[in-house]
């Protein structure tokens, strides 16, 4: 009886470093093992995919990329999958960042991905660089993009870019795709032109905030972190980083749930032993 009590008590008081080690090993194993896990597309991802599928060749889309190195694990798979889908639909896109580090990171990753689809910088896509103020920037772009941004990341005046032919304000865009770890989507919803569709790619933590916008139709679709990226890659039938990351996340969740159950069993057994 004393032996059992000690085991349950030890389980309740387990050193957190042991928990961290177990989780670390779990993640490494399931990142490396080629296990195939079934995925069912959730409604927000389906809406996201269907909205982009409605685009026609030659349409123009704004990609707002505001994530930096901290959330690379969740936002990078989203960004790459979105760019691949836009290239598949042969739409033009421009990229804007409201964070200085996000500017460099997004430019680097998008440059790499666009080479796969044969997209040319300046003609098929462009990066507008970094704007310091989100709300002022959106308001300015609603009125006049070349006057607000002036030049792209390479120093070329916006109005001279071939990709911006026939485009002067945000109203000329079909949609904005906001890829971000922060709550920037509320500003896009509040200040965008009325008919501009908003698609949202948050980290999993920030996704909970967006269900109200999804429900009301203010956000047309959403990819939730790496899990959303995995479902989206499945729809695109092109595996990217989302699939292995989501696999590791799935088995990490399983481990956490297992330990929650173990912890409750330990609590119950130690209370019983004390009561006995």
């Amino acid at each position: 009886m004393m032996e059992q009590q000690t085991i349950w008590h030890r389980l309740l008081m387990i050193d957190r470093r042991i928990l961290y080690l177990i989780l670390f090993v779990n993640i490494i194993i399931f990142l490396l093992i080629p296990v195939k896990v079934p995925t069912v597309t959730s409604p927000p991802v389906r809406k996201f995919y269907d909205t982009i599928e409605q685009l026609q060749p030659g349409d123009i889309v704004m990609v707002s990329s505001n994530w930096s190195a901290g959330t690379i694990g969740e936002n990078r798979p989203q960004l790459e999958a979105v760019i691949r889908h836009l290239m598949r639909k042969k739409v033009r896109f421009t990229v804007i960042s409201f964070d200085p580090q996000a500017r460099d990171i997004s430019f680097r990753f998008i440059s790499r991905v666009t080479q796969e689809g044969g997209y040319q910088y300046g003609k098929d896509w462009a990066h507008f660089g970094f704007l310091p103020a989100l709300v002022a920037g959106i308001k300015g772009m609603v009125k006049d993009i070349p006057a607000t941004i002036k030049q792209d990341i390479k120093g070329t005046p916006i109005a001279q870019l071939p990709v911006m032919q026939g485009v002067k304000t945000l109203a000329d865009y079909k949609m904005v795709i906001d890829i971000t770890p922060a709550g920037t989507v509320a500003a896009w919803i509040a200040y965008r032109p009325k008919d501009l569709i908003v698609l949202f790619c948050p980290t999993s933590v920030m996704a909970a905030e967006a269900y109200t916008f999804l429900d009301s139709g203010q956000v047309a679709g959403m990819l939730t972190g790496a899990i959303g990226a995995q479902e989206y890659e499945q729809l695109l039938q092109q595996e990217g980083l989302g699939t292995p990351f989501a696999k590791a996340i799935s088995f990490s969740h399983a481990l956490i749930i297992l330990f929650i159950i173990l912890g409750n069993i330990a609590l119950f057994m130690s209370r019983r032993a004390q009561g006995g």
Binding site: Y20, V37, V40, A69, I227, A254, I256, I260, G263
Partner: protein, 284 residues
């Protein structure tokens, strides 16, 4: 009237006059503030605060023309740019405070002054390469291989992995926090635990495996199931873990969030009104 053509001679004269007027105002402001009694000072600050806020409030409420602007609209951008500039100046002040603190730690060899050395070295190194890179991009300095390699080492090989590491700490902390907190200690704690477990299982592939592979529940809703909502198949479809998780997020989480956001929005507006009308005594 809010935007001046600085390229022209008239514009340059206007700018000079405005800068001189602001300098005179600022220099005159300090003796006036010192001469006034405390009540007078508070009244003057309240007046300035009121008129500064009035610009934004009036611009929102005044009627607009066909272009969606009124006569105050051109003032908003310069006002917001001014706020950005003040923020940048404050950044310099903050950086000065940081460096001063750590230099003092080093000079006086206070406890754990080694960390201060690391901070100063990192700050100077990163600052040196960042400034050089920015000037090189504008063509004012030469882009050398040393700059390229140095910046890549510091940014790609150090800053990016360090930031990603800090974010990944959250995963480990969630594990220990969940293990510690999700216990059946009370009704509320139990509800928290079960809801969290439902959402955790439902949003990942584990939920799909349990619901669709092991239990064989229907993945999609057919027309027949829609017509017979109380049929076993339709009930099974709605009891799948991914659907339960999505329902929790959409039907429980979203309304509660809306309610909290309403309260926060109203409270934020009330506080903004109190600050504008100087009714808020708080930090002043």
């Amino acid at each position: 009237m809010w935007q001046i053509e600085v390229g022209t001679t008239t514009g340059k004269v206007y700018v000079t006059l405005i800068v001189l007027a602001f300098l005179a105002l600022f220099l005159g402001f300090i003796p006036v503030m010192q001469a006034l009694p405390p009540r007078g000072r508070r009244a003057l600050i309240a007046l300035i605060t009121f008129f500064a806020g009035l610009v934004f409030a009036a611009e929102f409420f005044l009627p607009v023309d066909k272009k969606g602007e009124n006569w105050l609209s051109p003032a908003i951008d310069p006002a917001q740019n001014t706020l950005q500039i003040i923020g940048a100046m404050a950044l310099a002040l903050g950086t000065y405070g940081l460096i001063r603190l750590h230099l003092r730690n080093i000079v006086q060899q206070r406890s754990q002054w080694g960390y201060s050395v690391v901070l100063i070295v990192a700050f100077l190194t990163m600052g040196f390469f960042s400034v050089w890179k920015t000037l090189a991009e504008k063509g004012e300095l030469r882009q050398t291989e040393f700059l390229q390699k140095g910046f890549t080492l510091l940014f790609d090989n150090m800053l990016v992995p360090l930031e990603a590491t800090m974010f990944s700490l959250i995963a480990f902390y969630i594990f220990s926090a969940a293990y510690r907190a999700f216990r059946i200690r009370s009704i509320e704690a139990s509800i928290l635990m079960f809801t969290a477990m439902m959402v955790m299982i439902g949003i990942v592939s584990l939920g799909n495996i349990i619901s669709y592979s092991w239990l064989g529940l229907p993945i999609e809703q057919t027309a027949e199931m829609e017509q017979n909502p109380f049929s076993l198949r339709n009930i099974g479809y709605n009891l799948a873990l991914p659907r339960i998780a999505y329902w929790i997020l959409q039907a429980l989480n979203a309304p509660v969030q809306r309610a909290i956001e309403f309260g926060v929005g109203i409270a934020g507006l009330a506080m903004a009104i109190r600050l504008w009308l100087s009714l808020e005594r708080g930090i002043t």
